[in-house]
Point group: C2
Chain length 263, copies 2
DNA sequence: AGAAGGACCAGTGGTCCGTA
DNA sequence: AGAAGGACCAGTGGTCCGTA
């Protein structure tokens, strides 16, 4: 039985491919299935490399176009970026905290991270209400439109790349809070960084999917707070790869050991 | 009580706006609500006019890129474009036919139109099955991907603008086949063209929506064959406008005549 | 004049990679 | 080295308008 896709998570960077190529990939433990994905990825990268370097557009002034709509009430309940007006700092990085623990220093904790997901949900509900009033198409997910709305409403600390990056961590928090809490305590104790915690969140999620017929989409959709988030690509790929591994294991145990039972 | 939005359907081209501007608009019967939409539309048109004329790219040869995948079984059950190989004609135009009636001459009938919707559904199901097998995102609606798949599978007579154009006609056929059949017979008897029939399909649909709390999205979603189609913009707008009219009528009858009953 | 559909365009989902 | 997020890009939903 080859290394399964989950174990491959801890092997990133060990492939023959340049390290950069394998980032966020599911790993090659599954064999042919993942070669296809990896090949598509390579082609994409190549296309990109044919183009010039990224344009850099900086505008240090305020965007006056919608300044009037800004809402300066900062209901950022994490440590945020402090009170510096007009400094436009980044948010403080996350650290692994236990449930209930407040991050000290220029850091934000994981309860704060999960709180951001709840805030996005509130913004979605507002966007939905406006759409319904106007008789317009009503989003069922947290879309670009919702992120734009959040920004206009003053929640400049919410952005799409960040929220998408940690969706599966929030999923575990929603689907099995006990497991999520345990994982946080364990990773904190080991002194791991946020990236390691984030990686570690995949495994219990795939285990949940295994118990529910591998249908990660319906698992997301069945949970009221989770259903508004797109299933992350990598989580979907992991579930698929593991389902194939499980099926292969089952069928080989039938053809090898199963004979004794069947006849 | 001003002309309601549905009656306004038969008034297209009577507005003070240039005729072209009002095409596919809901009508101005509703007042302020529709002024906003019309204004947005005008701005859009203006933006477009600032740009140059459309580029014209013609390639009269075959697109060899995916010729190998072509499927020459023509299961077009309508009159289609006949057997001319490599002629690349358009489909014959639709005419208003009664249920069961086959169009004669270079025309296609409405049963054939509805059959195209069923074919799209079959193509969607195939795309969904492939996506599930591969563990990829699985579309729930007839998307660009499905139209592309249909074309590759040889159904070159299916295209997005056509299918979107008549979605609400198919909706009526799904939701109230009796009413749909009656409308077809009536419009045929009056010698109306397809455009007139298409316009006439809106009214009974809005009446259905009225009976179901004006929620056209949930009406579509509740029907297994209809749920795979996006609700057409104009139908959504008509339902919204009529809901507002109905609410206004109800509230004015409360404030005017309702007094007698309430006190 | 009525109709079919190639082609366009604004804004999407997805995430890379220059930045701090 | 680890992380936050501006910015990019391929492919979408929507439908106009040059064409037959």
């Amino acid at each position: 039985n080859p290394a399964n896709a989950l174990d491959a998570l801890s092997q990133e960077g060990l492939s023959e491919e340049p390290v950069q190529e394998e980032k966020e990939m599911v790993g090659s433990g599954g064999g042919a299935t993942w070669e296809v994905v990896a090949a598509a990825e390579r082609r994409k990268k190549q296309r990109r490399n044919l183009k010039g370097h990224r344009k850099v557009v900086m505008d240090n002034g305020r965007d006056d176009q919608e300044a009037a709509e800004d809402n300066d009430d900062d209901d950022n309940v994490g440590n945020g970026t402090g009170g510096g007006i007009g400094e436009r700092q980044r948010e403080h990085p996350f650290i692994v905290t236990e449930p209930g623990e407040v991050a000290r220093g220029k850091k934000n904790g994981l309860d704060y991270l999960f709180h951001l997901y709840e805030q996005c949900r509130d913004f979605l509900i507002q966007v939905q209400n406006i759409a319904k009033e106007r008789g317009e198409k009503c989003p069922t997910k947290v879309t670009n439109q919702v992120f734009r709305y959040a920004k206009k409403a003053g929640a400049s600390y919410i952005n799409k790349p960040k929220m998408r990056h940690y969706v599966h961590c929030y999923a575990l928090h929603c689907l099995d809070e006990e497991a999520s809490n345990g994982l946080r305590r364990a990773l904190k104790e080991r002194g791991e960084n946020v990236g390691a915690w984030r990686q570690a969140c995949y495994k219990p999620l795939v285990a949940i999917a295994a118990r529910q017929g591998w249908d990660i989409d319906s698992i997301f959709n069945a949970h009221p707070r989770l259903s508004i988030w797109y299933v992350p690509t990598k989580l979907r790929q992991l579930c698929h790869a593991e389902r194939n591994n499980a099926a292969a294991a089952a069928s080989s145990s039938v053809s090898a050991g199963g004979d004794h039972l069947a006849f």
